[in-house]
Amino acid sequence: MIIIPFLLFLSLAPVIANVFGVKHSYRTGTITFSVVAVMSLYLMLDGYMSYHAVGQYVAVGIDPLTSGFLMILSTVWALASLYSTEYDQNSTSNSLTYNTAMFAMVILLFSRSFPVFLSAWETMTISGYFLIGMRKIVGPIPPYVFLVYGELSTLFIIAMGSAIFFQTGSMIFVHGPYNEILLFLGIMGFFIKMGVMPFHITEWLPIAHGNATTNGSILFSATMTTAAVYSILRFVLLAEPGIFLGSLLMGIGAFSLLFASIYSASSEHVKMLPAYSTIENGGAMLILLGAFIIASDSGFPDIAAFALAGLMVFVLAHSLAKCGLFMFSGIMEKASGSPEIKDYHGGSNSTFYGAGGVLNSLSLSGMLPLGGGIGEWMLLETLFILSIIGNSPLSLLSTVVGAAAALGGGISIISMTKIFGYGSRGAHEGKRREGTMRTALFLAGIMVFLTGILSTFYIMAINPLVQEFTGVGTLGVISGLLIIPDGFLVTSHSPAGLFGVVSPFFVALFIALFSGFMILIGRKFRKREVSTWNGGILEETTLNSFAYANSLRLTMKRLYLTREEREGNLYSEKTFDAFWLAVVFLSRKTVEFSRAMGRAVMNSSLAAYVFYIMIAFFLVMIYVVS
């Protein structure tokens, strides 16, 4: 009974601590969210469940799904808050909105009724809006588009909620089955928040164009996406959807993954690149989610459990690594004063910075034995198994999705090596210094590393969560083989038997032994430093980051809408996000239309905005009254 209020209090503490100053609020956040993380880990392991309803409208609860996600999110928040103590020392508006958004997400995890869920969702969105809305913004379109997308997602969720209310007569979450189309409508709302293609503008727009702060970016990219995945899972748990929704999620996920990885590789903006990478990872999570739904619906609980475990590994690895990558880019941006990767000659020569950067970016590019690598392996294994067990349409779908996932995963190596390579080479700062920012980044890297090599134990830890969904649990996924002791091997099973194995811990051990051996041998020889050989002259050529990915821009001209221009001997090459161009066009038209309407109806210069607010308010009223 006391647990939920206590956790809520801990999450609210940083908001209150703003009274004592920005720094104190972040410090409080670091401490309280660390406590929340440890507590929620315990609750998840324990399989703790509780539920409280107040009247017809308000209900909160806790189950392994909630505590599992709370553990992931609060870990990221603790790290982000630690980072913020050095990063942001004086912006109260920033820290207040940041802390509020986190609090809102905690409520979201606990909510068990639509009014609570929606108010948490709206608070999160509005806090996000203020996070960018109170900063200098390039033009009128970014905040407008962001708000439209944010509220659009709310509208979709409201629509689903109303439909479910009419179907079940309850505002409190109850088990389905629901109409799949209606469910899909609600999931569309979560898609928008996740920034899945073609709604991905909501992901990079506030971060890149709105020039969001680093902790804001972490909030948008690493945790709001995770909160959206949680929400989908929550409704999937309630509704038990079928193969139709599963296939749809897999298709959309594959599309999102592939396109986002392509756009990510060409991105030259230090925050836009990680933001595109989030869209890509969001796609991967959707694929796993879809595979989980299909496997559950087709009566393969083992495969469903494996897919869900993969999803949870992916969510954890992505949240941590993305948090780390944004810290990395934040340090780089602060040191060089430019958001363009091509201007970088490295952010800092600190060891923490380099180690944190490489671990996080390698994880995001799907390298074993890091968390991202395990997640990607589990994703591909699931698809392999689905492609051999299913009927032919499912096999075809799994094969196509698998091909897209593998291709996108490959391309993500370009973007990740680019951001890490250009960010860590040389240094902008002459003096070597470590600090809270770099320590937080390093901690994120270490956690990503541990998530990877100890993923077998993490998979065992989420057993209660997976059991809640599939009834099978994850213990069957973990075993041992030959010299590998029990508990260190991830296995995948097809109905025919053992399918694939990987032991992250032993992969790491092998790499460590091999490199240790090489270092031991190498130490015998003298080291010699020579200057760069560049044809015999001193001038050094620098291959800039733009050139690093330009072969992609030229070979995939149609996708990037690459335009090469020349005026005399002045050359330029531009690429575009086709979806973004369409949105800009549409939003311009909408603004024009709203202005015209505004002049005609309300005669106000803020017409568009007010007009929109009115409609949103009107819809909410209808919903509440009904």
Partner: protein
Amino acid sequence: MSSWMFRGLRKGRVTTAFPWKPPESVPVWTTRPVWKGEGEVSCPADAIKEHRVDIGRCISCGYCSSAYEPNGSVDLSIVNGKERIFARSYHVYLFDAGTCGSCNLEIKSLTNPVYDMNRLGIFFASTPKHADAILVSGIMAEGMREPLKRAVEALPEPRLVFAIGACAISGGILGKAITEVVDADVIVPGCPPNPFTILNALLKSRGDS
């Protein structure tokens, strides 16, 4: 693809038996001219003093043919520094300090199937940083001074510097020698030295008999 293989088989072995057998074809005037015992000539390259030919200055023009005869031996090079460590794997970097192009072509000829230096464990490196020896040819052109210094510095130790051709050794009739800038461990005379002479010098420099 198979047609290439058949052509290769039909053509048979083209690779020389050198160094185990004497070279099949020697352009005689790139070898050392020896006084016949009578007659006087004036050498346009000032390579002849008291009937002895300074082979490092000889430009292989053959203008002394009335009193001198080439001896036809490809064992012309002078090796001042040997490195036996290169016996199995020998990577060389070709450096053009200011040639007419023929020395470079003769050095590059070593990779063709006729000479095939790879069979002897000798390879070209694309950068001096990965090379054991640097083969410098041509006169010391002003613009190549700095690059030559840098290239020699970039070579890991132990290293060998070759001066290949009359231009590199003495400046010939065109300019200054490369020895103004770097010390040469091995000198390979000729204008240009024929591939057998260069191959012979490479083998000698790693201690092959």
